[in-house]
Symmetry: C2
DNA sequence: GGCGAACCGTACCGTACGGTACGTGGCGGC
DNA sequence: GCCGCCACGTACCGTACGGTACGGTTCGCC
């Protein structure tokens, strides 16, 4: 399939990017069912024939949408300045937590995750993998860099970075992500109003588990 | 709609239960797309006409499947014996954690959650609500009873039961649930082999946050 | 034994949608 | 200025599926 190469190197022409953007808009608005080849062609002012030429088939369009969105994720390189105080790190972690919750509760993120979940059941889809291994690994990279910098600075104590990250993630996200995917209104989860408060609480707990001033293990 | 009443009182005849069971099997095997009215009728050896008579339409069938599965959930009443030791509670919490992870990673749970996620995007579906407010609230009730019993016995310390529950849930589940929904293989999550170990670790952390022998707040 | 209700199986209809083919209109190369 | 390329738009096809109608069969009830 020639469209596969398009997906793998995740390089899209401007026109294709426009089409995928329109597809994302449709997806956010109406879910996967809203992505019909005719509908997408109309919304993007392109022809169905072009869709099939570029992406192979409908499935290819969906994959491309995920790959495209994933390609937009950029890891904000952590400022690696030395001699950072505990306060500095706390601020960084708060920023991270807020970013994480903001991203996860974003409408495109929700829509895309729902799409990937739906595809996961159907075929033996590398679709959820794509989503998880791009978006998530970006998040994880940022968090791990932060965690290890804080450890080097003597503010955190842990052996297994992965484990520490998972704990941080669990404390921050809890089951909010799943509940949002299930359609629960953000307001009933205290978002975005209480987001800061929730992040604070999660970090308080995280620091009590991994902070250097507490005995670990 | 007459099928609505069926859903609400969640009472199904034996025959209907058989049909819904067949539907669950189809759902587990092939996802929502695999539930076609003709296919379900064939799999359940019933007529399409009966399907429409009982459940109204395809959507009604899906709702009924969720309601039916939810109706099977029973909360194992916590043994409320007094004078239980910290060890006893620890055992209970371990059982709870293992049950939780076992349920969430079960194939029917995964399939049903995927279904609900898919529906959440389409209509203004009370479908995910159903799932969340049945299965989840059952889990939550059990956990909260356990938490408060442990608090009364002086083994845990917290003000807000809901907050404690969320923390426990977050530490136990982390992002495993979402990743399973996205199709990640259980083995890559260390399930079910490392499940006990993961529960232990989560509970260690939870006790360090809420255990009575540690200062809280 | 006769009757009606419930249900099965099947055949049928309408439609929506994935996928393909064709005609048309810009646009860069010669 | 002519030509080939690419993409747009549209019209078209086949099919799969939701939903309905109908004849036949079983079963309980009088």
């Amino acid at each position: 399939m020639n469209y596969q190469s398009k997906v793998e190197d995740s390089e899209f022409t401007d026109r294709q990017a426009q089409v995928l953007e329109a597809g994302l808009a449709l997806l956010v608005a109406g879910g996967e069912k809203a992505i019909t080849t005719a509908g997408l062609a109309r919304a993007a002012n392109c022809s169905k024939e072009s869709l099939y030429k570029w992406f192979g088939d409908r499935e290819g369009v969906l994959s491309a949408m995920i790959a495209y969105q994933a390609s937009k994720v950029r890891v904000p390189a952590a400022a690696a300045s030395a001699n950072r105080s505990a306060e500095d790190f706390r601020v960084d972690f708060e920023a991270f937590g807020n970013d994480l919750l903001t991203v996860l509760s974003g409408s495109t993120s929700i829509a895309l995750n729902r799409l990937a979940v739906g595809q996961a059941s159907a075929d033996g889809a590398p679709l959820g993998d794509l989503l998880v291994n791009r978006g998530r690994s970006a998040i994880r990279a940022r968090a791990k860099a932060l965690l290890e910098a804080a450890r080097r600075a003597g503010h955190l104590r842990f052996d297994d970075t992965e484990e520490a990250f998972e704990t941080l993630y669990g404390l921050l996200v809890r089951d909010k992500h799943v509940r949002m995917l299930l359609g629960e209104k953000l307001t009933s989860l205290g978002l975005p109003l209480d987001q800061n408060k929730q992040v604070e609480r999660a970090l308080d707990q995280f620091y009590r588990l991994y902070g250097a001033e507490f005995a670990t293990l």
